[in-house]
Amino acid sequence: MKRKFKLAIPGIALFDILLYIFFSFATENFFSSYNTILILRNSCTLVIASLAMTMAIMVSQIDMSIGSVISTAAVMVALMVNKGIPVIVAIIAAVAMGAAVGAVNGILIAKFKFDFWVVTFSTMSIMAGIALVISGGETIGFQNEFLDWVGNGTLPGGIYWVIIITALITAFMIWVERKTNFGYNMFSIGGSEVVAKNSGINVPLNRFKVYLFSGILSAITGVIVASMTAAGGPTVGSEYGFNAMAAVVIGGTPFVGGKGGMLGTVFGTILLKILASGLSMMGIEPTWQKAITGVIIASLIIIDVLNEKRKVKNGLRRVYHDVEK
């Protein structure tokens, strides 16, 4: 049974607009086409990483290894391009690496039923270390026309190609979420694993797919990060894990999963980037920026958690999670 395709604008988009208006008034230079395009451009890599995270959170789990796969992919691309390997081969190799890591996560979690947090935490550590080792600890710079076009190329109007690429990937993921069985299965498993299983969904296979695609998307993110900086650094992915988690939950997909989705995540990501840009332009100290951002994220998450509990209490949403534990 396929769900009807609804493109309802998530409530979080309202926050985006409010915040944007606030900063436009609070600072001199926030409100400009240049800055707006900048924010969109800077959101791109986090959007793709957050789409990956959305899948894991949708099925009530998480993927801690996203950041490390990003770093390793970026380094791999940089190293290979420098050695003269054709760009397309480098990209395929990086994506294959992401798929491999995702597959390992998937098998250990879905088939062997190890705890998702520990497994992805361990793959995170392993891959982070590998990124450091193969890069020798240094950022590897490179020159490549294709990647430069991907990362920094613009259309005549000033719109970056990377924004378009990201939009295409987002559209694809939304299509997967709403129009394919896999997408429906994710919602179902997140809502209640028991019910999903009873209605014939192959839960382990779908969970495996989640981690596989998460790895692939993370690798793609890494390639784009490398393109945007013309360099692959071993720690570029380190903040993505936390930021992606925040973007997803703010965007309306709660940690217990089962609702929300990709579109909300996009707005959640843009919200974070608007916040970062605005706070910085207001001249607020970096340590306070981190604190304020943390407080806002925490508040939005708590509101969401309390909201969920209220719905459970009022019988508006059945929760079978206790049974599985």
């Binding site: 497994v119 392993i126 936390f242």
Partner: protein, 330 residues
């Protein structure tokens, strides 16, 4: 076979892993590794930190959760209590450290038990807050130089040449072991990890037990923070290092299953020793530090797989034994 027999054999297998690792190091560079100084340094000076944090991590894991806030709480509590220790105000210093530690522990505990947020999210947030506060309060000014009497906590020896820090660790271990294994509180503690619903139904105050575990972790973090002040002779936010990852690895390789409900602080002792000796070995063998993250990550993965394998083996043995019993009864 009985559960307790299984636990003993499992623990012994972990000790075997420790011995194998030590044997490998000994073969590769005996003149550096196999010395009394190296052993005493690793066991009595380096291991306690990982071990104390791992105790906390283990307890959180046994209740079915996790606590990744300990490192930052340790930093914050040590920083806030530092000036008191510097001025010789030991009682005040301890009070501040304990208050900060247990306060944040209570926060974590409430988030997990009352607000019902998943443990890794709740403790990650507390970690974020604690570390942020530490950096804001510290403002780049580290605190250096502590009185000799205070330094004696880690460098001095009270009994028979064993550093005081090791003594402190042993006392903590003993207290925790008795608390978790020999008291009614301990039974409630294990049953929460094993079967949360049944625990709540059986009348044990699950929420309070969970909170108390996280508060104990806060206390452990505070103690570790004080020990760091003494050993490092400074209050320094950069001590966070690899403690979180190491303590998780220690708990798991020591034999505490992540699913909760099983394991004891004895496992943690063995696990912590394994991790610390691995690091010690890598330094001695001049393995570049870039490898250490990968190695510890692999240890965690190995621990998971090893645990699952062992479970399968015990199951098979138990089935065989039951079959024998059934046959004998006929």
């Amino acid at each position: 076979m009985s559960k307790s027999k299984k636990n003993v054999i499992d623990l012994l297998s972990r000790v075997l892993i420790l011995l194998i690792i030590m044997a490998v190091m000994a073969c590769l560079k005996p003149e550096a590794f196999l010395t009394a100084t190296n052993f005493s340094q690793v066991v009595f000076q380096q291991a306690p930190f990982t071990m104390l944090m791992a105790f906390g991590m283990s307890m959180a894991i046994i209740t079915g959760g996790i606590d990744i806030s300990m490192a930052s709480v340790m930093i914050l509590s040590s920083y806030l209590s530092a000036t008191s220790f510097q001025q010789g105000n030991y009682v005040l210093g301890v009070l501040i450290a304990v208050a900060v530690g247990m306060g944040f522990g209570l926060l974590s505990g409430l988030l997990v038990s009352k607000v019902n947020i998943a443990a890794f999210i709740a403790t990650y947030s507390v970690d974020f807050i604690a570390l942020g506060l530490a950096y804001v309060i510290c403002d780049g000014k580290y605190i250096y130089g502590f009185p000799d009497a205070f330094r004696g906590l880690t460098t001095g020896t009270l009994i028979g040449g064993i550093p005081n820090i090791a003594l402190v660790t042993f006392i903590v271990f003993a207290v925790l072991y008795v608390l978790t294994k020999k008291t009614r509180y301990g039974r409630g503690f294990y049953s929460i990890g094993f079967n949360p619903k049944a625990t709540k139904l059986s009348g044990i105050n699950a929420d309070w037990t969970i909170c108390s575990v996280y508060m104990m972790n806060g206390l452990l973090a505070a103690i570790t923070g004080i020990l760091f002040l003494s050993r490092l002779n400074a209050a320094d936010p950069s001590i966070k290092g690899t403690l979180t990852m190491d303590s998780i690895a220690a708990a798991l390789i020591g034999g505490i299953p992540f699913s909760g409900g099983e394991g004891s602080v004895l496992n943690t002792v063995v696990g912590a020793l394994i991790i610390v000796f691995i690091r010690n070995g890598m330094n001695i063998l001049n393995v570049p530090t870039t490898w250490s993250q990968t190695v510890v990550g692999l240890v965690i993965m190995f621990a998971l797989i090893y645990g699952a394998l062992m479970d399968k083996v015990y199951e098979a043995i138990s089935r065989k034994q039951n079959q024998k019993k059934a046959l004998a009864a006929e």
